[in-house]
Symmetry: C2
Subunit: 314 residues, 2 copies
């Protein structure tokens, strides 16, 4: 079973317009909302790919109850801790013409020390029957900056491998605990390493550098959106992959990538095969509105044709 | 008691950024959400000004329960009918630099014929103890286009005056029933009359034309944002007013205007005094984040200094 940690869930809204005009009132051409935040996107995508999944995180208020109910309706097993206030929403405005995607992320409620401790306790219980743990997204307001690092350590104490997709100081501290997979986009990798990552070769170098900072057997992925991603494997080889199709709804494709990778690894597939499933899931996610939504058959098809090549690691 | 009809309520979110950059991810400098949609903004503002208010409308799901609970916490009496789905949200992005306000309005759930009939029945019950009715905002998806016209007629059958702020065909059909006050912005007035309203004098002409289409004793207001508003009074005189202060949060100022006008009229104030309170409430609303939120003392102060002049009606 894969435990998907979504510390700061969100009602993820996709609001489609012809064009975004600063200063104007917009009404949607189409609109869809899902139980989101990166961790729940991973959970939904992994569930769609056939993995046994339990999502967990911190919810609040009426918006939190909508998320809990919606995940249940989606068939995704989930268990949460609760704090006061209201779970946040994130609005992604997708323009059919002009620049594609403009996003507005609310911060979410202050979870406080107690809210975070409740989450850690819940994760520790779930670890007893977990084969993998994913940790995705920003830490919520009020949580300790070492929060993700402590979850990585708890997972390792329980003998469960961890895949991490976070940002800023919480990422840095958790990477120091040696997670098994680090998956970040180029911007987050750049902040972590203190460099600018503006090309495929820079992403390759960053993946190699991050992998080098992990314990032996670790892996690092640095993504550059539709251009592709560098995957530094545990054995030192580096793959460069490119999604085999480019859909109109890229929100959540990074999360679908992580879901595909961990779903493959949990099944005992080799790294190359799991990486192919990751690219297939990312491409399939982009073909359907709603982050973390995908057609699993389509993901398998796209996995089988995704371009994947060995690149020099230096 | 003033009945405030909010047929399609909304969680109104104000998301403040330094600058809106198309294609970028935005995190808020400040964030506030209120139980909104124009009708609930009117209710909150009138309640703040000291009026006895009952808000009503159609709610749905968890978002609807948030609105119901929040109004209760705000001390605003409210009673709703319920339909399936989820009540909508509206995101107003306020930029400190560049163009001020960019808005994203979700559509809201389909209320269906039954949902609308339930609302009409509820309004008819409330009319028994009402002194004024306000109707504000767009009709919700699935409602009959004559819905507002039917509420205007029901109010008149019960001997209760009606103030209307709507748009498009629902506005046109309801205006034909002869509401007592029509308050629209220049764009809505332009659509109603089939003209372009690009100046104060055009707004004055529009107010006179709309008033002329009402029964004797009717009044029409056409607003041009911070520039001011034309008020065609029941006695044929026309006033031009300008808010005496310009705040940073103009969302909901038009609703606060209507709340001030009807609060004054319900108390038996003359039209000129009620119009002053309307301008004071609109200006006070713009000084505080959150549509329909205002400091009533400040509204009275701004009312006493608001510029108001008699203008030629032709």
């Amino acid at each position: 079973m894969i435990v998907c940690v979504a510390a700061n869930p969100s009602i993820d809204k996709l609001f489609e317009v012809e064009r975004l005009s600063v200063g104007a009132i917009h009404r949607p051409l189409s609109f869809v909302q899902v139980a989101g935040g990166k961790g729940l996107n991973v959970a939904r995508a992994a569930h769609a790919l056939g993995a046994e999944v339990t999502a967990t995180g911190i919810l609040a208020g009426h918006a939190g109850r909508w998320i809990d109910e919606t995940l249940h309706d989606d068939g995704v097993d989930a268990v949460f801790t609760w704090v006061g206030g209201e779970t946040r929403a994130s609005l992604s405005v997708a323009a059919r013409r002009g620049i594609g995607l403009t996003e507005f992320y609310e911060a979410g409620p202050d979870v406080g020390e107690q809210g975070w401790r409740d989450l850690e306790k819940l994760v520790e219980e779930l670890l007893r029957r977990a084969a993998w743990v994913t940790i995705s997204g920003n830490v919520p307001p009020g949580s300790p900056i070492v929060g993700y690092a402590r979850i990585v350590r708890a997972a390792h104490d329980a003998g469960v491998p961890v895949a991490l997709d976070a940002r800023d100081e919480a990422l840095e501290l958790a990477v120091a605990e040696g997670p098994d997979v680090v998956k970040v986009n180029a911007e987050e990798a750049g902040t972590l390493l203190g460099v600018s990552i503006a090309s495929a070769s820079a992403a390759r170098d960053a993946a190699v550098a991050i992998r080098g900072s992990l314990r032996i057997g670790g892996s690092a992925v640095v993504t550059r959106g539709a251009e592709g991603a560098a995957v530094a494997l545990p054995d030192g080889r580096v793959l460069w992959g490119r999604p085999s199709a480019e859909g109109a709804y890229p929100v959540g494709s990074g999360d679908a990538f992580l879901a595909g990778l961990v779903t493959g690894l949990e099944r005992g597939e080799g790294w190359e095969e799991a990486t192919r499933l990751a690219f297939g899931a990312a491409a399939a996610n982009a073909e359907v509105p709603g982050a973390g939504r995908l057609d699993p058959v389509r993901a398998r098809t796209l996995a089988s044709v995704s371009e994947l090549s060995l690149v020099p690691s230096t």
